[in-house]
């Protein structure tokens, strides 16, 4: 494999695409080993970092360097041997740049996997080949499906401990693929690996001739980045109004924002929400360069034909596909904070660039991500790491899309107005692409030791 340190000219590393991905799995599944091997074998762990890890491992009485120490950055994490928070890791090959959200392995940190998955285009779920698909695997798949991560990879690890046997892999791959597909995951890839021995992580395995697919890194390097935007609705939340009011630009009035979805073109008839005013796009400035067309996720400045009253918080969308506005929001949420969410809670709702007051009207059900997605009707409250349904009433109308149609204009945060704490992550609409039928109403107690 070529690594980025092998290059001899700046042109060879000039322009590549970027893939943001997340990993899910526990230490027992070998997640740290997998991440460590990806970083190490792509030569992204540098000598001083490795020396620091070796030094720290020796002081803890470990002989081999503990690659988990590469990602456990905080004092409390190292002292307690746990991971508290999402760690972001960066590595590169000549073909692509990677941003990895490495999420920890304890049940109370579901919020961390939700956080990591929210910006991921791909999620790697690990299982131990000896154990196969277990409840935590279903939980990982469910979070990836809930957050609409487009690509999911199942890495069946520790193949060396099952004699690299194809039937073991095939059975696990089939069970997982069926489950993830039932949750609506659009693209599922399964790879047999040994993170410890290095099989199929960066280099193809010599022990599994029966496997003809890509290694983990090859897949990360070649999976499609970005989606076909032609069918996606264009959405442009206004962040800021640019008005130089200088002699050079006396009348310039531009709406600055980052295209959240779809494609904007000069000449598009647009509607401004929530006011409903209409105009035409007369210009798009792509950070200093005038363009005729721009698309998500570019940051641009949009010029309109008419002098309208537009400010931060408004949403510009093509008139033909403008979203409806509503004050009644039905959403699936992940509750992120120890302070519970209850019916009657008064919160702030932040959607795109607008923050409005809202009140929790109902908590229809809580979802158990492991027990066949069983729904518990009418929970008294949502606690930290709970996934459930929420009905909200907002003080002002919002142009909210279904999260299934647009991740950025279908998502929102609930914030405690008293101190600004982020309480809840929300996704408008139904939880899964093909919602599983509501199972038994009795929710099994979450068991200790489940992952994330």
């Amino acid at each position: 494999m070529t690594t980025i340190s092998d290059v001899t000219s700046a042109e060879q590393i000039a322009a590549t695409s970027q893939l943001r991905f997340a990993t899910a799995g526990s230490v027992d599944d070998g997640k740290s080993t997998l991440v460590g091997r990806l970083l190490h074998d792509s030569k992204s762990v540098l000598t001083d970092q490795l020396e620091a890890v070796e030094h720290a491992s020796r002081r803890r009485g470990q002989e081999a360097p503990d690659l988990a120490l590469l990602t456990d950055g905080l004092r409390a994490e190292r002292e307690q041997g746990i991971t508290i928070d999402v760690a972001y890791r960066y590595f590169a090959t000549p073909r692509r740049r990677f941003i990895l959200a490495d999420t920890p392995g304890h049940v109370q940190y579901t919020r961390n996997m939700v956080t990591g998955a929210s910006t991921a285009e791909l999620a790697v779920v690990l299982v131990d080949a000896r154990n196969g698909v277990v409840e935590q695997t279903r939980r990982h798949a469910a979070v990836a499906a809930l957050l609409r991560v487009p690509h999911v990879v199942l890495a069946v690890n520790k193949m060396d401990l099952v004699e690299y046997a194809e039937p073991v892999f095939a059975a696990i791959a089939e069970e997982f693929t069926a489950y993830a597909a039932s949750l609506g995951v659009p693209d599922i890839t399964t790879i047999p690996i040994s993170a410890l021995a290095g099989d199929n992580v960066v280099t193809p395995s010599a022990n599994m001739d029966w496997y003809g697919g890509p290694t983990v890194l090859e897949h990360l390097e070649t999976v499609q980045v970005g989606t076909d935007l032609t069918d996606a609705p264009a959405r442009f939340p206004v962040q800021y109004v640019i008005r130089p009011q200088t002699t050079e630009h006396p009348d310039y009035r531009g709406y600055a924002g980052r295209i959240a979805s779809g494609i904007l073109r000069v000449g598009d008839e647009v509607t401004v929400l929530p006011s409903g005013a209409t105009s035409t796009i007369t210009g798009i400035d792509a950070l200093g360069e005038p363009v005729d067309v721009a698309w998500a996720p570019q940051s641009v400045t949009v010029l309109l034909a008419d002098d309208l009253d537009i400010s931060r918080g408004d949403l510009i969308a093509p008139t033909a596909s403008a979203p409806a506005t509503t004050q009644d929001v039905e959403a699936t949420v992940c509750h992120l904070h120890e302070r519970p969410l209850k019916v009657g809670s008064r919160v702030l709702l932040k959607h795109a660039t607008r923050t409005v007051k809202a009140i929790v009207k109902a908590l229809p059900y809580r979802i158990n991500l492991t027990a066949g997605l069983a729904h518990e009707s009418g929970p008294a409250q949502l606690d930290v790491n709970d996934i459930g349904a929420v009905v909200l009433r907002t003080a002002e109308p919002l142009p909210l899309d279904a999260y299934a149609d647009s991740r950025l204009t279908g998502s929102f945060l609930l914030i405690d107005p008293a101190d600004g704490t982020t309480l809840t992550a929300g996704m408008a609409g139904e939880a899964f692409a093909e919602p599983a039928a509501a199972g038994a109403s009795a929710v099994e107690k979450e068991q200790e030791g489940w992952d994330f």
Binding site: A10, T71, R97, L408
Partner: protein, 308 residues
């Protein structure tokens, strides 16, 4: 816009530099829209220069709606201070300088035995934030720099003592940044969170951004201390037993002269720098920062105290 190489990418995939640029511009505009008095920490180092460049692009053709703040340790490279002042004048910006030397002169701070002034910046920084009533403070910190920084948020809430509590960080999802804060608190904002050292250099090359010359290979009188090449000068080096020699070096990071080391280098051009960094087996902090070699948690401890 740059076309990208990977054959399987959608026709609409952005290059990694375009994606990083768009994300950083979005962060600048969020802060402009939600805060009253933002300020950019500007040292004349490459990361702060890239930050300023992004801010200029984010609000063009209008002026950057923020002022600049520099904490001057008193041991800064003269080339860098000259660059700083020239840049401020060129763009018609307002610069506030907080001087560590003033604090030492009137006894509010004491010189450390090792002569390092990096940790001394925290108090003048927090005082300047308080006096300026700044509610958002942009820093050039990157998550790839150091393992405590790998867990830093883009919007990082600081209490009235400027302290960072990693256990009380707000989860950050999608691109929804929560900047709510109480009076007296402020938010540190890191628009370059997802950039690596190589990304910064590639972006500097693509945008044709000028840097202080000490980032490129040049001959300089240096002496060895703690495995690094330090510039000889009035700040306190060399001590007896340390010998000065002329070497071909460049600076990979720019900070306080007493704790920022140079690296042996013959990279005279930006393309040569990019190849050198891609091939480097050391991180930039590992290669050049004495203060991060003090302990496993040196950066974490300084951040908890309110450091950048």
């Amino acid at each position: 816009m740059t076309t990208v190489a990977a054959p399987n990418d959608s026709a609409y995939a952005l290059s990694h530099l375009d994606a990083l640029e768009s994300e950083a511009v979005h962060i600048f505009r969020e802060v402009a829209g939600e805060f009253e008095r933002p300020v950019i920490l500007f040292s004349g180092g490459k990361d702060s220069i890239v930050m300023l460049h992004l801010a200029l692009k984010a609000f063009a053709p209008a002026a950057v709606p923020f002022s600049l703040l520099h904490v001057d340790t008193g041991h800064n490279f003269p080339e860098v201070l000259e660059y700083r002042d020239r840049t401020v004048a060129e763009h018609g910006l307002r610069l506030h300088v907080a001087r560590v030397q003033d604090y030492i002169d009137d006894g509010r701070l004491r010189e450390r035995p090792d002569g390092t002034r990096n940790p001394l910046q925290t108090v003048p920084l927090l005082d300047a934030i308080g006096e300026g009533t700044y509610d958002a403070v942009f820093g050039g910190g990157r998550r790839d720099e150091e393992k405590a920084r790998a867990k830093e948020r883009v919007f990082s809430l600081r209490d009235e003592f400027g302290a960072w509590d990693p256990r009380r960080q707000r989860p950050e999802l999608w691109q929804l940044y929560n900047g709510k804060h109480a009076a007296g608190e402020h938010v540190r904002v890191f628009p370059l969170s997802n950039w690596t050292e190589l990304d910064v250099w590639q972006y500097i090359a693509r945008e044709g951004i000028e840097l202080p010359q000490i980032y490129y290979a040049h001959e300089r009188d240096v002496f060895a201390r703690s495995g690094m090449w330090l510039t000889a000068g009035e700040w306190g080096g060399p001590k007896s037993g340390e010998t000065v020699e002329k070497r071909l070096i460049r600076y990979r990071t720019v900070g306080d002269m007493s704790c920022t080391g140079a690296v042996d280098s013959d990279a005279f051009t930006i393309d040569q720098v990019i190849v050198e960094i891609a091939a480097s087996r050391l991180t930039e902090r590992g290669a050049t920062r004495a203060d991060d070699k003090m302990s496993e948690a040196a950066m974490e401890d300084r951040k908890r105290e309110g450091y950048f």
